[in-house]
Symmetry: C5
Subunit: 96 residues, 5 copies
Amino acid sequence: MRIAKVVGMAIATVKDRRLEGGKCLLVSAADSAGREQGIPIVALDMVGAGEGELVMIAEGSSARVAAGDVNRPVDAVIVAILDSLQHNGKTTYTKS
Amino acid sequence: MRIAKVVGMAIATVKDRRLEGGKCLLVSAADSAGREQGIPIVALDMVGAGEGELVMIAEGSSARVAAGDVNRPVDAVIVAILDSLQHNGKTTYTKS
Amino acid sequence: MRIAKVVGMAIATVKDRRLEGGKCLLVSAADSAGREQGIPIVALDMVGAGEGELVMIAEGSSARVAAGDVNRPVDAVIVAILDSLQHNGKTTYTKS
Amino acid sequence: MRIAKVVGMAIATVKDRRLEGGKCLLVSAADSAGREQGIPIVALDMVGAGEGELVMIAEGSSARVAAGDVNRPVDAVIVAILDSLQHNGKTTYTKS
Amino acid sequence: MRIAKVVGMAIATVKDRRLEGGKCLLVSAADSAGREQGIPIVALDMVGAGEGELVMIAEGSSARVAAGDVNRPVDAVIVAILDSLQHNGKTTYTKS
C-alpha cells in the first residue's frame, strides 16, 4: 500500500452514482517523512482522514474490496491513517 | 482515481464490438491545476464529459465495473466530471 | 487504453498453449502523433492490425476479457485499430 | 514479484478492520544487491520477515490471494524471505 | 506482455507454500534487442526457460492464470520463450 498525504479534496456533481456516500480526497504519494512525491490522485476515504495526515491507500481491485462493495468504480481508497513510520531505525513521521 | 483532462477523441471503425455504445475520448493525466502530464490515453466516457474538462478516471478492473458491464474490454473509464479541486488550502481548479 | 504503434512481431515456439490462435505483435506505446515512446511490449492481436498502424490496447485483467477467454494468460491485447486522433483541436493522426 | 528490502514499519490505530492480524512493514523496492530504489511502500507480512532482510512481494490482486483472504484490502504482501540471489552468474545477495 | 531476459535466480526457503513447485527466476525487462532495462524482478517459470534467454512475462492477475492455479500468490510468470523478434522490419533478436 502506498503512503500518501491528504492534500485537499475533489468536488464533482456529475459522477457515477456509485461514488456517492464517500468523500473524494486529493492525496499525493509521499515518502516516509511525509514529503509529497509527484502529482496527486483522488482516493475515496473510508476511515475519516483529515487534511495533512499521512494515510495508506489500497489500489487496483483491492480498492474496490476496501470500498465495501466491489461494484464501486474506484481504484484508490484510503484504508488507514498512519500514527507513525519507522524507517532505518528512525521515527520519520509521527501524527501531530 | 487519476485526474485527467479531456483533450480530444479517438475514432476507430475496426474494434472489439463491446467497445460500441460509448465515446472514446483522448485524456491526459493532469495535475491539480489541470496541466497535462505526459502522453494521452483513450478512456471510455460514461458521464458526458466535454473537451477541456477535468475528469476522474477509474483504471484497471475498476474501469470494467465503471463501464456498466465487466465484460467490456476497457482499462480506463471516465467516472466523474470535476467541478473544483482544493490543494493545500487553495482552489487550484474550477470548472468554467 | 494506451495508444500503441504496431512495430513488429514476436515468434515463440515454446509457450503456454493458451497463447495459440492469436498473433503476438510487438507494439510500442505512442503519443497522439504516433511517435513511439519507450521500449515495446508484446500484445495479442484480436482485430487484424498491421505493422505501422496505431491501435488501442487493453491491459491487465481487461486484456483477458478482450482475449475472448479470461483463462488466457495475457496482459495486453489489441482491441481497436485507430482511424484518426484529435488532440487539442487538431487531427494529429490519420490512418494512411 | 518485486524484490524489496524491509526497512521499517508502519503503525496505524485507525484502519480498515480487515488489516488487523498482520504486521504492516515498510519495504523499499531493491536491486539484486539489496540496494533500496525509490520511496518505500507498506506491505503486509505473511512470512515473519525482519528488518534488513530482502523479500519478495506480491502486488495487485495477487496480494489479496497471498493474504489468505481475498477480502482483505491489501495490494502488497510479503510472500517469501530471500536466502540468496544470483544475477549474471554472480551471487549478488546472501542473507546474513 | 513485457519482454524480459532471464538473468539469474532467487532462492527462498521461507515462503508461501503455494510458491513451491516452480522455479523463481530473476528476470529483467528488456528491449527488442535483449538489452536489460532497469532492476530485475522475480518471475515464476512455467515453460523451462534458461539463463540468457528472452521470454514473455504475464503480470498482474494474468500471472495467476498463467500459473495454472489462480490461488497462487504470484504477479509475474514466464509464459513463452522467444525464438525471435522483428522490430521495424529488422530481426533484432534470434535465440542462439
